[in-house]
């Protein structure tokens, strides 16, 4: 049993959420490492080189990889595809999970790994089937969001999280509007549903699929996160690593200072866990049980 799954957290210039993502995994007992793309390519000294196949999971963290010039995620996607495309393909084939948070989601979409519908028909493998485009507000939005878990058990990052459960975690992006070309929209959405690829959708506190500010970017179908048909690749715009503990939440002090019982107060005192932890936990559970099989 692999109790200490090895997590590769990929960074290049401009990724900037790698440290808190690293902490989220290490807090849960994983062996996480922040790895520069150059280390995978081999463009560094011998002792700094790394091989993707030595890791159990790959994470592309949030940030502005290569400045997000051109289009969010486009440059890193091209660099990964160009330099370690084959390793990535082998990694996926092995059923090893890949997580893309915020900019990482943009990268996975640019790489064509998400939604990854290609194999079904139309010979669209490797083509970009969706986009994460400019927010409807036309500006950067840093705000808490509520996302409803919609997956029926396909996605390895949310197994164990009850369906219909509403999680709270913040988003912070300028280009997070999930978008599918009008001609394909209906067909693709249907397939996303059929394949159990929809993981998170933005909702209001009552669980309704509401518009701005609940849907912070104007995403199609309120989509906040999707996985590939196999359920091993998850991309999401909100930041689970920013919701690991309760004290990272925007409202923890409201609950802590309300007149609830002393025992409940202890629970929300701040060192309790937030919703983001569930995602890291789920994938680590998957990895730990997987080796057992």
């Amino acid at each position: 049993m692999n109790l200490k799954p090895k997590i590769c957290i990929l960074r290049i210039e401009g990724t900037n959420c790698e440290y808190e993502t690293f902490l989220s995994f290490t807090r849960l007992g994983a062996s996480a490492e922040i790895v520069h793309l150059k280390q995978l390519i081999g463009a560094v000294k011998e002792r700094e080189r790394r091989n993707l196949k030595d890791y159990d999971a790959l994470v592309i963290p949030g940030g502005f990889s290569s400045g997000d010039y051109i289009r969010a995620g486009a440059i890193l996607a091209a660099r990964i595809n160009g330099a370690v495309g084959e390793e990535i393909a082998a990694f996926m084939k092995n059923g090893k999970p890949i997580l893309g948070i915020c900019n990482g989601f943009q990268v996975l979409v640019e790489m064509g790994l998400l939604p990854g519908l290609g194999f079904c028909a139309h010979d669209e493998i490797g083509l970009q089937q969706a986009a994460l485009t400019t927010n409807d507000s036309a500006r950067f939005e840093c705000r808490p969001t509520l996302i409803k878990h919609e997956n029926n058990g396909n996605c390895v990052f949310t197994r164990g999280i009850e369906k219909g459960c509403i999680l709270k975690m913040p988003c912070a992006h300028a280009e997070g509007k999930f978008f599918i070309d009008e001609k394909k929209r209906e067909e693709y959405l249907q397939r996303l549903e059929e394949n159990d690829q929809i993981v998170f959708r933005y909702v209001d506190p009552e669980g309704n699929y509401a518009s701005y500010p609940w849907n912070p970017n104007g995403s199609l179908y309120n989509i906040a996160g999707i996985c590939n048909p196999e359920g091993t690749i998850l991309g999401l715009m909100p930041h689970p690593e920013r919701a690991f503990y309760v004290f990272m939440d925007s409202e923890w002090s409201r609950r802590a200072k309300s007149g609830i019982t002393e025992r409940e107060r202890e629970k929300t005192k701040g060192d309790a866990y937030g919703d983001g932890k569930k995602i890291f936990e789920a994938v680590l559970n998957y990895l730990r049980s997987r080796v057992d099989e």
């Binding site: 210039e13 808190e20 939005e141 701040g270």
Partner: protein, 793 residues
């Protein structure tokens, strides 16, 4: 720069400027045509110096001296005032204050926090997007070069009114709306990209900023004490330039900041271009190299570029240096030697490294794809001393520069740093412009309150705050917006939890009220300290250190200098009484525009840092529950000068709020004690808009109503004065109901802190305010929210 000079440099490395035989008129002309911004007196001093040396200066030498002697670099107008009032407040937490680019203070046994605060006014007024962005770049470098990881950015901004009439605007002045949008976008794009949360700041509007906006920027960092790096070089080290390439951007940035703004496009070259995607890996590389103990000393390139960095590092370490300028990597061909030497191109550092470590240091930078080039070495120089029989040599700190083996510069750092210090003539305004003009009591309080809530200096800043990533690094535990989703209100201070395994926090806030300072600079500045302390205390923190960014007009004008003197006196008075030190800051003079012929209001912006023993105990602004009593802490006086209420009626003058450090200190201590007893559910300081606005902001954040009665608040005052006076040292608190309220009252009474019960929170989403039996305000919370949210959308 006149082009005739530029061409000459291209063909020749060494270019001498004849000043030894120049008359006064010619000296002035040389200063002007070379863009030196040195006055005649200073030019004459140079003339004497080089006459004694028996040679003419080179262009590189003159440019270098001009950088070192600029107001921006050497504080020649302000130094004596700063020394009198601002420097030297002793405190046990001080580790390294004032001396270097950022102040260093004790955080806990093993860690220190670092912070710096600067203005970027002139560049932002010319090119708001780039100016604001590079402002962040510069301040982040100041923190990194101490060896610290940046963890927070703070951006106080000051503009003219957004609805300022285009017909009133002089041709060369840019519209406040353009500047505001550009600056916010610049901060958002740069700050978000480098992955440091922009988590505090302010946006202030006043007609006085039409001709010259004020853009201040602060940065806080955290480090292990053992990682502290000094900005000095020792003998026998290699000087390595790391980071971006050197170009023509940012030439004469400091000398341009040391004259009045003419608004002319020719100064655009003085604005540097930022590159967050060079900065981000550069930051990692430096921190990695420093962690590996490869760096002996480092300094970022701020004003004056390479010239100031080499000079200051060598001077501090008492060594000389030999520089080979041709090794500097350039963005473009054809830069002349002096341009390379003074360029303020962004994202560069100078690192002093022991020869044995050079190879490993370069490897770290190579890994991060960041340029690193050894450009020279430090070495001792000796001067023969002839006044004794025996030959004696004393070491001098001398910098020599070669360009393609041709010596183009040879000066002692002692001379470079011996900038003149001026005691400028000043007119001190002790009497405030406070003819008190009576205001008629409003008939419709509902309307008055709504107008106040929508005033530009009070209305919701959510649309700005949301454009800044204030949560990256996942350590922002008390956020700038507080309350349930969709109902948030402004927080008083942001709290960062900098360490993974400690609950200790840093509270961060910045503030100043320029309207107070305009009427009475002494009490206006004192109020800024009071407000910063109030903000920090409101979240439960203890004020620990201040940084000051002093933005003023032309110091050569006696009334401006007088305002500066009085503001410093006010800051020093309160801070020293509280025993809280100023550890870093800068002075920005010449904030006036030639076109409008007016100075900005005196703007001594204060950045305050407080310590929270346990972030889990922090208190926020949003009201938590219906049925809790509300109290006001502090005394309300008829201090309406500069208040937002007066601005509604276009009343200028009046008495600005006073502050008594003893009362402030006692109130802060008692309030923190009450928070420790867990009886405080929410807390907000009373500032712009007075008591009424403070209560509304708390209720908006909780989406809860209240019934208020102000009968107990200074009964001698008229109702509108009670509601809208901006007296200092006040807070509104929501206290947990039941016996907690009794314990709170008892504590405050024993501590001798004035409190008034002003009502309680209600289930019904309405705000009712009465003075005894007289109903003043009765409106729904939604109406209040609409007014507050409407201004900036």
């Amino acid at each position: 720069m006149k082009s005739s000079f530029g061409k000459a440099f291209l063909t020749k490395k060494r270019f001498e400027v004849g000043i030894r035989d120049a008359n006064d008129e010619e000296l002035t002309r040389i200063s002007e045509s070379m863009g030196l911004s040195l006055n005649l007196e200073e030019m004459c001093r140079l003339k004497r110096y080089f006459a004694a040396k028996n040679r003419e200066p080179t262009d590189v030498e003159l440019q270098s001296i001009a950088q070192a002697w600029s107001e921006h670099c050497c504080y020649k107008s302000s130094k004596n005032v700063l020394q009198k009032f601002i420097f030297g407040i002793e405190a046990p937490q001080n580790m390294l204050v004032i001396k270097e680019d950022a102040g260093v203070l004790e955080f806990d046994k093993d860690h220190a926090y670092v912070f710096a605060f600067e203005s970027h006014n002139h560049p932002s007024a010319i090119e708001p997007y780039g100016g604001a962005a590079t402002g962040i770049g510069g301040i982040v470098r100041d923190v990194i070069c101490m060896g610290a990881q940046p963890i927070a950015l703070i951006d106080p901004l000051f503009f003219g009114p957004l609805d300022y009439g285009y017909d009133q605007l002089p041709a060369e002045v840019k519209h406040p709306r353009f500047l505001f949008n550009g600056v916010v976008a610049g901060i958002s794009d740069y700050g978000n990209r480098i992955g440091i949360p922009t988590c505090a700041g302010m946006v202030y509007f006043d007609e006085g900023y039409v001709g010259n906006c004020v853009v201040n920027v602060g940065c806080v960092g955290i480090m292990k004490k053992a990682d502290l790096s000094r900005s000095m070089a020792k003998h026998g080290e290699v000087l390595v330039l790391v980071g971006g390439k050197t170009g023509r951007d940012g030439i004469h940035g400091v000398t341009f900041a040391s004259v009045e703004l003419t608004g002319e496009e020719e100064f655009r070259s003085a604005v540097q271009l930022g590159d967050p995607i060079t900065k981000e890996p550069l930051m990692h590389a430096i921190l990695e190299a420093n962690g590996k103990r490869l760096i002996s000393g480092m300094k970022d390139f701020g004003g004056g570029g390479l010239s100031c960095a080499v000079n200051e590092m060598c001077h501090a370490g008492g060594c000389g240096a030999e520089i080979h300028l041709e090794r500097v990597k350039l963005k473009e061909e054809g830069l002349s030697a002096w341009e390379i030497w003074v360029s303020e191109s962004q994202e560069r550092f100078l690192i002093a490294v022991e020869p044995d470590n050079v190879y490993e240091l370069l490897a770290v930078f190579e890994k991060w794809d960041v340029d690193a080039v050894a450009i020279g070495q430090t070495k001792p120089f000796f001067r023969e001393e002839s006044f004794t029989k025996e030959k004696k040599y004393s070491p001098v700190s001398q910098i020599t520069i070669f360009y393609d083996n041709e010596k183009i510069f040879e000066l002692e750092t002692d001379f470079l740093v011996s900038c003149p210090v001026y005691v400028r003539p000043m007119e001190v305004r002790r009497e405030e412009k406070e003819k008190f003009v009576a205001i008629e009591e409003p008939v419709d309080y509902n309307e008055t309150l709504k107008r106040l809530l929508s005033a530009p200096n009070i209305a919701s800043r959510e649309s700005v705050i949301r454009q800044y990533d204030h949560e990256v690094r996942a350590s922002t535990v008390i956020k700038p917006l507080q309350g349930p989703i969709g109902k948030e209100t402004h927080g008083d201070a942001t709290v960062i939890k900098p360490l993974e395994d400690s609950y200790k926090g840093l509270a961060i806030t910045s503030d100043v009220n320029p309207s107070f300072c305009r009427i009475n600079p002494f009490w206006g500045a004192a109020s800024a300290i009071d407000e910063v302390c109030r903000n920090l205390t409101a979240v439960g923190a203890t004020p620990h250190a201040f940084a000051d960014c002093l933005n003023f007009g032309n110091p050569e004008k006696p009334d401006r200098m007088g305002d500066f003197y009085e503001c410093c006196r006010g800051l020093g008075y309160v801070a020293s009484s509280l025993g809280v030190p100023f550890v870093s800051g800068n002075v920005s003079f010449y904030n006036e525009s030639a076109a409008l012929k007016e100075s900005i209001p005196p703007t001594p912006t204060i950045l305050g840092i407080g310590l929270c023993e346990d972030v889990r105990e922090c208190v926020t602004v949003d009201v938590k529950e219906a049925g809790n009593p509300l109290y006001m802490i502090g005394e309300t006086k008829a201090e309406l000068g500069g208040s937002e209420y007066c601005k509604l009626w276009h009343v200028e003058g009046g008495i600005v709020p006073r502050t008594d450090p003893a009362v402030l200190s006692r109130s802060m201590q008692s309030l923190r004690e009450a928070m420790k007893m867990s009886v405080i559910a929410s807390c907000h300081d009373v500032s712009e808009g007075g008591l009424a606005v403070a209560v509304c902001e708390m209720l908006l954040g909780g989406d809860i109503g209240a019934s208020i009665n102000i009968a107990d608040v200074n009964p001698e005052l008229r109702s509108d004065y009670k509601l809208f006076s901006e007296s200092n040292s006040r807070w509104v608190v929501e206290v947990c109901r039941g016996e907690a309220a009794g314990r709170f009252e008892e504590l405050m009474n024993t501590r001798g802190v004035c409190i008034s019960n002003i009502g309680e929170t209600l289930e019904e989403k309405r705000i009712g305010i009465q003075d005894k039996n007289k109903e003043l305000v009765n409106i729904s919370l939604e109406e209040v929210r609409e007014a507050w949210l409407g201004t900036f959308g």
